[in-house]
């Protein structure tokens, strides 16, 4: 029995398994989705998507694509899928997989990781410099008297902690006197949790800039930033474009080019060049992670600050600055 619509007759088929934040997060998952959409435009590729709402569903969703053997590539988005994929890569050793944000050591899996600490260091540097300056843009302004900036994390996993570590290191690099206050929402989709965290940081702790790595929960951070007339820094995608309603509070975004990763993986399949077992590390040097200034207010950031950012970027790439990936090591 078929549907009312027509069947997909593309030559190559890709199965997408997203992370639990789900599509519509305007950041991580949407970037991956962007990548596969780009790929369908460029190649004769069709795809199916699965959006698990629980971590325990990853295993089944990966199997669903691997079991029939009809898919040329299964894309696993997010570090949460690591354990499930470790098993499945072994059981379905003929199936090609890629995984994003973590490493699975198997011959049929290609892993893509990003230098999140490096990117976060950069936005931390930016925040650390701005918070003590008198800066206003849109309806927001900094408070030069308060030397606090904030970080809101999705969950307390090593990956998200590496954002915090890089961010904190960047802030301290900019100014030793500035403190970073962090709150973890324990969810990537709880807007209200993001709100509460941001309220606490802006109102009670006196933060004037918050960097979030909390997926959909980060929207709560933007909402409060707008209400309080403060700034926020986006993550994964250029959120001043994706969340244009908040463009007037988003200073910059720490972008991870997940779309590029997906696109190149599909390309390698189409060109029959796919190689498993490799880890592709995407960092500042190849723009795998990057600081993208806010679409609306980014150009108001003083040039001297941007110059300093460029210098620190060089130093990281050259290895002169060693960015920690654990908040305890900062």
């Amino acid at each position: 029995v078929g549907g009312f619509g027509d069947e997909d007759e593309s030559e190559y088929q890709v199965g997408m398994v997203y992370s639990t934040g789900g599509l519509g997060d305007n950041s991580f998952n949407d970037m991956a989705s962007q990548g596969i959409d780009d790929a369908t435009d460029e190649f004769d590729v069709g795809y199916q998507e699965s959006e698990p709402s629980e971590q325990s569903e990853f295993d089944n969703m990966q199997r669903d694509y691997a079991e029939p053997g009809d898919y040329d590539l299964v894309t696993c988005v997010g570090y949460e899928q690591e354990d499930a994929l470790e098993d499945n890569a072994e059981e379905y050793d003929e199936q090609n997989f890629i995984i994003i944000d973590t490493v699975v050591d198997a011959d049929n899996v290609r892993s893509y990781t990003f230098d999140e600490p490096g990117g976060s260091f950069q936005v931390g540097h930016l925040a650390g410099l701005l918070t003590t300056e008198e800066f206003s843009a849109g309806d927001s302004e900094t408070d030069p008297d308060e030397t606090v900036v904030g970080f809101v994390g999705g969950d307390e996993s090593p990956l998200i902690e590496s954002f915090e570590a890089g961010f904190t290191a960047g802030v301290e690099y900019a100014n030793d006197d500035v403190d970073v206050e962090s709150i973890y929402v324990d969810s990537f989709d709880d807007t209200s949790g993001g709100r509460e965290a941001a309220s606490t940081l802006y109102e009670d702790q006196g933060a004037d800039i918050i960097f979030h790595a909390a997926g959909g929960a980060g929207i709560g951070v933007f909402q409060v930033a707008e209400e309080e007339g403060r700034f926020a820094i986006g993550v994964d995608a250029d959120q001043s474009v994706q969340e244009e309603d908040y463009a007037d509070v988003i200073l910059a975004s720490m972008v991870k080019r997940v779309d590029e990763a997906v696109l190149t993986a599909v390309e390698s399949i189409v060109n029959d060049e796919f190689e498993g077992g490799d880890v592709e590390e995407l960092g500042l040097e190849d723009d795998g992670v990057d600081v993208v200034l806010g679409d609306t207010i980014g150009d108001e950031i003083p040039d001297d600050i941007l110059d300093e950012l460029e210098e620190s970027e060089e130093e990281i790439i050259d290895g002169d600055i060693d960015v920690p990936d654990d908040p305890d090591d900062v």
Binding site: G3, F4, G5, S56, D59, R63, E80, D83
Partner: protein, 414 residues
């Protein structure tokens, strides 16, 4: 509350088996019809390249296709070429069936004792964590291989039953000794279980190698083994052995309820606690006992989830406990009916994956369907009104043999 439950139970126990089956089937069909209409109508709002054009709208979803995928996809598309009985989809369905038998029994046992245990989910979380941890720690001292299997699996099940049972005993004791409404406490204890289990994990049992919140994987020999030749492929998360165990437990509970003094007392407590007390049942102990048994069954469900499906404990435990409520209610809370009902919900669950891969219809449809099924099962009166035109459902007529006090009206009198 007491009279309400009493009346409900009376009505459920009262309805003949045939009527119960008729109502369950009718509820299922009604839910499918409503769900089908929903799918069709929502197709008008979805976007698709081609669809069915009616009255200026483009309908993207074909309800027939959706239900085809839901029911046949779940057993591996038997009407299409090269179908094998022991296929992957059926294995998924049966794995889910196995787990749901336990959570369904868990709800049923409490319900038959007059208790609404909404807390099977929490009991399952506790049971599954206990299983994983026990097996992991024991595997250090128990030799691997066959002996390991023989020792670790019963040990894991026992740990699950004990932990689930203890966690079920809490709301039982709160009800018996502090008069706390079990509907509220069990719902709250579900939330608490999630938080406590995650905290315990972080505190002691986290797999240091993993970025996820999970324990280490249990050794392969502690996973429930596959039946050679007969069984499904070993790489799938299903074992006939576990299903057989579930069926044995199901029959055991049915036997317990109908044949033993404890079962008799439990059922009596469920329909008429005053009569149970009159017959010498200690009401408080019965409440705690029934909740403990109910929790233990939920805990075993959790054990099997770890030992058969997941292979480790992770913080996101699937909603098997909530589905168990639906399973049991559809089965009229009869242990033997739960087998069929669990299979149906197993189909729905595994079919929802077929839906999400084979169609564009959001798989949340399945959640709506199970809600609708429960809603329809809850109102037998609806079907009686419809069915009453064709069949005479009323099976009990008051017997008036002498001038004694009139028999009370229907069960639903105010």
């Amino acid at each position: 509350m007491k009279t309400r439950l009493k009346r409900l139970l009376r009505r459920l126990v009262h309805a003949s088996v045939l009527e119960r089956i008729a109502i369950s089937v009718a509820s299922l069909l009604a839910a499918i019809v409503v769900g089908g209409v929903l799918v069709f109508v929502s197709g008008a709002y979805a976007s698709c390249q081609a669809g069915l054009n009616v009255a200026g709208f483009t309908f993207c979803y074909n309800p027939m296709q959706v239900f085809y995928e839901l029911f046949f996809g779940a057993i591996g598309h038997p009407l299409e070429g090269d179908w094998a009985l022991r296929n992957y989809n059926l294995a998924e369905t049966l794995a889910q069936t196995t787990l749901l038998i336990f959570t369904g029994l868990s709800f049923a046992v409490a319900f038959r004792a007059g208790l609404f245990n909404i807390g099977t989910q929490g009991q399952l979380i506790m049971g599954s964590l206990a299983t994983a941890v026990t097996v992991l720690y024991a595997s250090v001292i128990v030799p691997s291989g066959f002996i390991g299997t023989v020792v670790l699996i019963p040990l894991g099940l026992l740990a699950g039953a004990v932990a689930g049972g203890l966690y079920g005993a809490i709301p039982g004791a709160l009800k018996a000794y502090a008069d706390a409404n079990e509907v509220i406490t069990t719902i709250m204890l579900n939330f608490v279980a999630g938080g406590v289990a995650a905290t315990l994990l972080a505190w002691q049992f986290q797999d240091p190698e993993s970025t996820n919140q999970q324990t280490e994987s249990i050794p392969a020999y502690a996973e429930i083994p596959n039946v050679p030749f007969l069984g499904f492929s070993g790489r799938w998360n299903f074992s006939l052995l576990a299903l057989a165990f579930a069926i044995v437990c199901m029959i055991g509970i049915a036997w317990m309820l109908s044949r033993t003094a404890f079962g008799y007392e439990l059922r009596t407590s469920g329909v008429q606690p005053e009569a149970a007390a009159y017959s010498g049942v200690d009401e408080k102990r019965m409440i705690v006992g029934a909740m403990t048994l109910s929790g233990a069954l939920g805990g075993i469900g959790g054990s099997l989830w770890v030992l058969m499906v997941q292979g480790e404990w992770i913080t996101s435990v699937p909603d098997l406990g909530f589905d168990g409520i639906a399973v049991s209610i559809l089965a009229g809370n009869s242990p033997l009916g739960i087998g069929a009902s669990a299979f149906l919900f197993g189909l729905l669950d595994s079919g929802s994956q077929s839906i999400s891969t084979a169609t564009d219809v959001p798989p949340e449809l399945v959640g709506i369907l199970s809600g609708l099924i429960i809603l329809f099962v809850a109102m037998p009166e609806f079907f009686r009104m419809i069915g009453g035109r064709y069949v005479d459902f009323e099976d009990v007529q008051p017997v008036q043999t002498d001038g004694g006090e009139p028999v009370e009206g229907g069960e639903d009198d105010a």
